[in-house]
Amino acid sequence: MEKTALYNFHKNLGAKFVAFAGYEMPIQYKDGIVKEHISTRQTAGFFDVSHMGQLFISGSKSLEQNLEKIIPLDFKEIKINQSKYSFLINDKGGVIDDLIITRVDGGFNIILNAACKDNDTKEIAKCLDSDSKYELKKDLSLLALQGPKSETILEAIIPGVKQLKFMNGDYFKFQGKKIYVTRSGYTGEDGFEISLSNTNAENFTKLLSNKGAKPIGLGARDTLRLEAGLCLYGHELNQDISPIQANLKWAISKRRREEGGFKGWENIQNDLKNGVSKIRVGIKPSGKIIAREGTKIFSSSGDEIGVITSGTFGPSVNAPVAMGYIQSKFSEIDNKILLEVRGKKHDAVVSKLPFYKKSYVK
């Protein structure tokens, strides 16, 4: 089991750990998931996401062309220091992983899910020329700072970060060392992700804590992203689900939706042209019942029409929330559906996403 550079720091804060993607990660701290969730929405929270992959790619003139084979973005559109959400696509048009890619000096930085990062690196390497270089950085930590007070807190430590716009980044200096900061996140709040050397991680995190940011574990990270309607790989996304089924058509660049030229294009083109038989939707149980992953979805006439992929109690919505896949003809907002929990069917409705309104700085 691997540990991040902040393991002892978490331990001293009273973290409870879980095994996640081969790492011992904090699921919660002393405050517990609900309070951590609320702290993030009301002030600011910091998250150790160093288990995620940070893949740096540099290389030849054909680098962008090669990456376009497996990532359905228009690379010409990505400006220096701009970040984009996208995927690695397999031959069937399924999602190998979802990712954030940022153009940096001399190449790209790609943030990958922890459980997928080694396989992702192999899949990307297959598309590259021999003169391209790639490295999954083990010497870097990754921290997320999320919530309405994030800007004030981070600006006090790293002057200049408040100039960043959402989904943009830049290099800054911290204690004489170069760090990379992007304005992004996974909670539906304004916030930043900070990539810095393992040796600096603890000092930096202590400053965030001193300035009033609270430590937030993976438990609240999940309730926050679910309220924000964001996908979690392995739940809403996998190798058998296309981005179109996942209702993420927007994340495929316009030119690529028209021209294709990436893996799985035939299937994705078909999804775009003819529509999909099942689609990801938000689901709100009418009562207090929580529909967990695997819960079967039925139409009001009793036919099985889908399955829940994530479900929990949303502390800011103050109600249960879920996402799942249902047959497209039932996917209209406010459509009445039934959820089978512990052998009984419970009323629910198809809901617009996000459940909780975002407040990104554009």
């Binding site: 517990g32 998931i33 609900v34 309070k35 438990g219 309730t223 929580i290 967990r292 929990t312 249960p320």
Partner: protein, 126 residues
Amino acid sequence: MSEKKFSKKHEWVSLDGDTATVGITKHATEMLGDIVFVEVPEPGKSVEKDSQAAVVESTKAASDVYSPISGEILEGNKSIVDDPGNVNSDPEGASWFFKIKVKDKSEFDTLMNKADYDKFCAENPS
């Protein structure tokens, strides 16, 4: 009310005549974290010792609550259904789960006392 007795599945029971009150222990709530959903049994339902009788859910997961004693359900605690967070604040007091008309009082004697339960928890950390 009798002294409380405890089960290995982290329920507590107290006895008043042939009426038992059942809840989950403070230790259980600490393991579960924030409780966000509770389902209690309907009056009249008969339950066997160690059978599933109620449900408690945290933000993380759903767990079954077992009855440590056999009998017929008299009442479920509506206040924890309406406000599940109450289970975290007073698990061994006002936030009991259900009351049960006990069939066989000798079952009560097979449960652990407070000292034995604390020892059991210390020896079986989650």
